[in-house]
């Protein structure tokens, strides 16, 4: 199923909650994975990805693919940046480091929480953790840097 086209004001609406929800809902890859935002307390956000058989990375164990966790963490980190902004802009990942502590438990949804702990003029810094029950028992940790105002046009469009 393909995500519907984004509405006007995508990523730039006034209401932080609405903006963060819209940003995730209209991201086709987030939609395809079933990623949903569950809680927003700027500059922190929470999201989850449901366990699905077609997202498994190891058919012998049924463990969800690392790539799914990577995309979930990248997504919540980006949304955390946007949630922290007074005047929101699109963002783009500069770098993303992920440490995998253990495999995700087969059959269980994965939760991720992200904290944009520094919002600069051009760059935002974010930390995130993925887990099933509590962040004290993490599947993976992420540290990322994002470019602010990533969609600034380089050429005028006709």
């Amino acid at each position: 199923m393909t995500a519907p086209p984004p509405p006007p004001g995508y990523q730039t609406g006034d209401n932080t909650l609405q903006r963060a929800l819209t940003m995730t809902k209209f991201t086709p890859q987030a939609h395809a994975l079933g990623i949903e935002l569950t809680r927003i307390e700027p500059p922190k956000v929470w999201g989850h990805v449901p366990y699905r058989a077609d997202l498994v990375g190891d058919p012998d164990t049924g463990v969800i693919a690392g790539g799914v966790i990577t995309t979930l963490l990248d997504q919540v980190c980006g949304v955390a940046c946007v949630s922290a902004m007074k005047a929101p802009t699109p963002v783009a990942t500069i770098d993303l480091r992920i440490d995998y502590m253990r495999p995700a438990q087969p059959g269980r949804d994965v939760i991720a929480e992200a904290h944009c702990y520094k919002l600069g003029k051009s760059v935002a810094f974010v930390r995130a953790v993925a887990y099933e029950d509590t962040p004290d028992n993490p599947i993976a940790h992420a540290a990322a840097a994002f470019m602010i105002n990533a969609a600034r046009p380089t050429k005028a469009k006709p």
Partner: protein, 139 residues
């Protein structure tokens, strides 16, 4: 079964590789993973640009598969950590990735990977990661 067939079969067994639509091409012992473009892979529909997570996932998958070839193992290693650098916007076209095994140690392997689109010399993203070898893991 030759290596190309073995790889294709190994990837076909990974549901997430099928979800992304990845396929493997092998020239000698050098592997290229091909990710044909589809709308579902987009992360920013306004640009449009590929999702950063997808680019990371493609390079991680390439590293895991290249390692399986290098260590002549049928089992995939486990990821310990990855560091993904984004160099250019991933456009709405097909993406390719290759990995280079820097070192295979007794328990851990160090691998670099790159992803590109139209031009091999203009990488859109790079990855550096550490992986636990399956033999060491089961000790």
């Amino acid at each position: 079964m030759n290596t190309q067939e073995r790889l294709t079969a190994a990837l076909a067994r990974v549901p997430y590789a099928q979800f992304l639509g990845v396929r493997a091409e092998l020239k000698g012992d050098e592997l290229t993973l091909v990710l044909p473009f589809k709308q579902d892979l987009i992360g920013n529909p306004m640009l449009p640009a590929l999702h950063g997570g997808v680019m990371g996932a493609l390079m991680e998958l390439t590293a895991l598969t290249q390692l399986a070839i290098a260590s002549k193992s049928d089992k995939f290693p486990k990821t310990i950590d990855i560091n993904v650098e984004y160099l250019r916007t991933g456009r709405a076209v097909d993406t390719y990735a290759r990995a280079r095994v820097v070192k295979i140690g007794r328990r851990i392997a160090n691998v670099q990977a790159e992803a590109w689109q139209a031009e091999r010399s203009n990488a859109i993203a790079a990855m550096h990661g550490h992986f636990m070898l399956p033999e060491a893991d089961s000790e």
